[in-house]
C-alpha cells in the first residue's frame, strides 16, 4: 500500500512571532525599522572613505604609512562589531506554548484565590530570592511567561529579551544578553576611530597651514565641502559616542543594564541593592565582557518538512493500544535521530488530512503557504 506525501520545507524562523526580519536563512535577525541603521552605515563608511581618499595620501607620505593602516584595521573592527550587534539575536525568549501558558494561569489563579467580582485581580508578580534579595518577576501578557530576572519586553520588536539593555535604532536591533559586549565594543572602537580621524584631520590641516598658511591650506585641501561636513559629523559623533561609551563603561562596572538604570531599579536607599553585582569592578567587567558566548534560545534553523496530504494505509500513524510496545519505542527513537529535539519548533503540529481529503484540498493548502 503506498502513501503520498506532499511536503514543503518550512524554515522554523519563518514561524517565529515578534516583529523581526530575518535574512540568510535565519542567520541574520534584525528589527523591522532599519532606516537609522542604514544612516549609521552611511556615516561611518562615508567618513572613513573621505579620510582614506583625501587625508591618508598626504599623511602617509609626510608622517607615516602606519597611520592609514591602523585606521583601516580600526575601521574593519568597527564594521565587524556593528554588523555583529545588528545581525545577532539579542537573547529573545521564546513565547510560552499553550500548555505552559495554561499551567501558569492555573498557578496564578490558585495563588490569587477568589477575587470578589468587581474587584481587580492583584498584579501578576512572582517573588524570588537572588543572593538574599527579593526580586519581583513580572508577568508578560504577550509572551505569557513570567519574565526571568533582568529580562524585559521590547515593544518595537515585540519580544521578551533576556538581560534587556535597550532597543538601539542606530544598530537596528535590541541590545540584550547575547550582543551587549559587541555593542559595547562597537561604541568603544567607534569612539577611538572618531577621535583618530578627528585628530588626524586637525593634524593634516595644521601641517598644510604650516607649509602654506591657513586659508590656502583650506583651499588646497581636496574635497573641502564634504571634508567640512564630515569634520562636523566627527565632532558631534565624538561627544555622543564617547559619552555613550563612558555611560556603558559605568554600567558595566556596576553590572547594571540601561533599562535598570532608567527605571532606577537599584538606586535609592529604600530600594533593593543590585543583587547581580559582584561588588568588585573588575569582576563585573569580566562577567560582562569575558563571559561565555550565550547561545540562541528556542527554535534553530533546522528545516522541517510539513506534511500536507496523506492517503490511507494499513499501519497507524499514532501508536495506539494495538501498536506493539517495541514498535512504539522504535518510533520515538528513529524520529529523534533524524532531527534533534532542540531543533524542532515548539508549536509545530502538522495538519493531518483524513483519507476523505481530496488532492485539490491538499494542493490548495500547499499554494496558500
Amino acid at each position: 500500500m503506498s502513501a503520498v506525501m506532499i511536503s514543503r520545507k518550512v524554515r522554523k524562523w519563518e514561524k517565529l512571532p515578534g516583529k523581526n526580519t530575518f535574512c540568510c536563512d535565519g542567520r541574520v535577525m534584525m528589527a523591522r525599522q532599519k532606516g537609522v541603521f542604514y544612516l549609521t552605515l552611511f556615516l561611518i563608511i562615508g567618513t572613513c572613505a573621505l579620510f582614506f581618499g583625501f587625508e591618508c595620501p598626504y599623511l602617509a607620505v609626510h608622517l607615516s604609512a602606519a597611520i592609514p593602516v591602523f585606521a583601516a584595521v580600526l575601521f574593519l573592527f568597527v564594521m565587524a562589531m556593528l554588523l555583529r550587534t545588528s545581525f545577532s539575536d539579542p537573547g529573545v525568549l521564546p513565547r510560552a506554548l499553550p500548555e505552559e501558558a495554561t499551567f501558569i494561569e492555573m498557578e496564578i489563579e490558585a495563588a490569587n484565590g477568589n477575587v470578589p467580582s468587581g474587584q481587580r485581580p492583584p498584579p501578576r508578580i512572582r517573588n524570588i530570592e537572588i543572593n538574599n534579595q527579593i526580586v519581583k518577576l513580572k508577568y508578560c501578557y504577550t509572551c505569557k511567561i513570567f519574565r526571568p530576572p533582568r529580562a524585559s519586553h521590547c515593544s518595537i520588536c515585540d519580544n521578551c529579551v533576556d538581560r534587556f539593555d535597550h532597543h538601539c535604532p542606530w544598530v537596528g536591533n535590541c541590545v540584550g544578553k547575547r550582543n551587549y559586549r559587541y555593542f559595547y565594543l562597537f561604541t568603544l572602537s567607534l569612539s577611538l576611530l572618531t577621535i583618530y580621524i578627528f585628530t588626524f584631520d586637525i593634524v593634516h590641516v595644521v601641517m598644510r597651514s604650516v607649509e602654506d598658511g591657513f586659508l590656502s591650506a583650506l583651499k588646497e585641501t581636496p574635497g573641502t565641502y564634504p571634508f567640512f561636513f564630515f569634520v562636523l559629523v566627527c565632532f558631534f559623533t565624538l561627544w555622543s559616542v564617547v559619552g555613550l561609551t563612558g555611560f556603558h563603561t559605568y554600567l558595566i562596572s556596576l553590572n547594571q543594564t540601561t533599562n535598570e538604570d532608567i527605571k532606577g531599579s537599584w538606586s535609592g536607599k529604600n530600594r533593593v541593592q543590585n543583587p547581580y553585582s559582584h561588588k568588585n569592578i573588575f569582576k563585573n567587567c569580566c562577567e560582562v565582557l569575558c563571559g561565555p558566548a550565550y547561545p540562541r534560545y528556542g527554535p534553530r534553523r533546522c528545516v522541517l518538512p510539513q506534511i500536507f496530504h496523506v492517503q490511507k494505509t494499513t499501519a497507524p500513524l499514532i501508536p495506539n493500544e494495538h501498536t506493539p510496545d517495541d514498535a512504539k519505542a522504535s518510533i520515538g527513537v528513529s524520529a529523534e535521530q533524524s532531527c534533534s529535539p532542540e531543533d524542532l519548533p515548539p508549536s509545530f503540529i502538522p495538519p493531518l488530512a483524513s483519507p476523505e481529503t481530496d488532492a485539490e484540498a491538499s494542493v490548495a493548502k500547499d499554494n496558500s503557504h
Binding site: 565587524a80 521564546p94 530570592e129 569580566c286 494505509t313 499501519a315 500513524l317 499514532i318 495506539n320 514498535a327
Partner: protein, 163 residues
C-alpha cells in the same frame, strides 16, 4: 515504501499522542537563589510521584545543572576564548564552535539518552530547556492507554522504522 518517521519529528508524534491521550506537563522552574546562572530546582514534583523514582529525577536535574555550570563558568578558558575571539573581531566564531555550544550538544545527547533509557519507558519525556528559553525543564506525562477517538478509521501512514 518510504520512511515517513525519519522525517516526522518526535515532538510531532508526541503532540499527536498528546491530542490522542490525556497527557499532562510538569514544568521544573529555575533556581535563582545563586544568581542568574542557569540552575534548575531539584524539588520533586508531586505529579511524578507515581511515575519515577525521586533519586533518578534528582540525578537528572543535578547532572543538567552541572553541565550548565560548566558551560557558564567564567575562568581561564573563557577569558582565553573571549580574548582570542575579540582579537579576530569575533570572526573566529564563524569557524569555531563556542564552548557553550559544545556543552549544549553534550546536554542534548544526555537528555536523549535519559529519555530513551529512563523516561520513555515510564511514559515521560524531557524537553531540552534551551527550547523553552532556559526557563523551565518541561516533562511531558503520557498515559498508557492509547487514543480511543482518533487514528483507527482516519488517516494513517505506513510507519516503518528508520532504515
Amino acid at each position: 515504501m518510504f520512511c515517513l518517521l525519519a522525517e516526522t519529528s518526535f515532538h510531532n508524534l508526541q503532540e499527536l499522542r498528546h491530542n490522542a491521550s490525556l497527557a499532562n506537563k510538569v514544568f521544573i522552574q529555575r533556581d535563582y537563589s545563586e544568581g542568574t546562572t542557569c540552575k534548575f530546582q531539584t524539588k520533586f514534583p508531586s505529579e511524578l510521584e507515581s511515575r519515577i523514582e525521586r533519586t533518578l529525577f534528582e540525578d537528572t536535574v543535578k547532572t543538567l545543572n552541572n553541565y550548565y555550570t560548566e558551560a557558564e563558568k567564567i575562568g581561564g578558558q573563557s577569558y582565553l576564548e573571549g580574548c582570542l575571539a575579540c582579537a579576530t573581531a569575533y570572526l573566529i566564531f564563524l569557524c569555531m564552535e563556542t564552548r557553550y555550544e559544545k556543552v549544549l550538544k553534550k546536554i542534548a545527547k544526555y537528555i536523549q539518552e535519559q529519555n530513551e533509557k529512563i523516561y520513555a519507558p515510564r511514559g515521560l519525556l524531557i524537553t531540552d530547556p534551551i527550547e523553552r528559553g532556559m526557563r523551565v525543564i518541561e516533562i511531558s506525562i503520557y498515559e498508557d492507554r492509547g487514543s480511543s477517538g482518533c487514528s483507527s478509521g482516519s488517516s494513517s501512514v505506513s510507519s516503518s522504522t528508520a532504515r
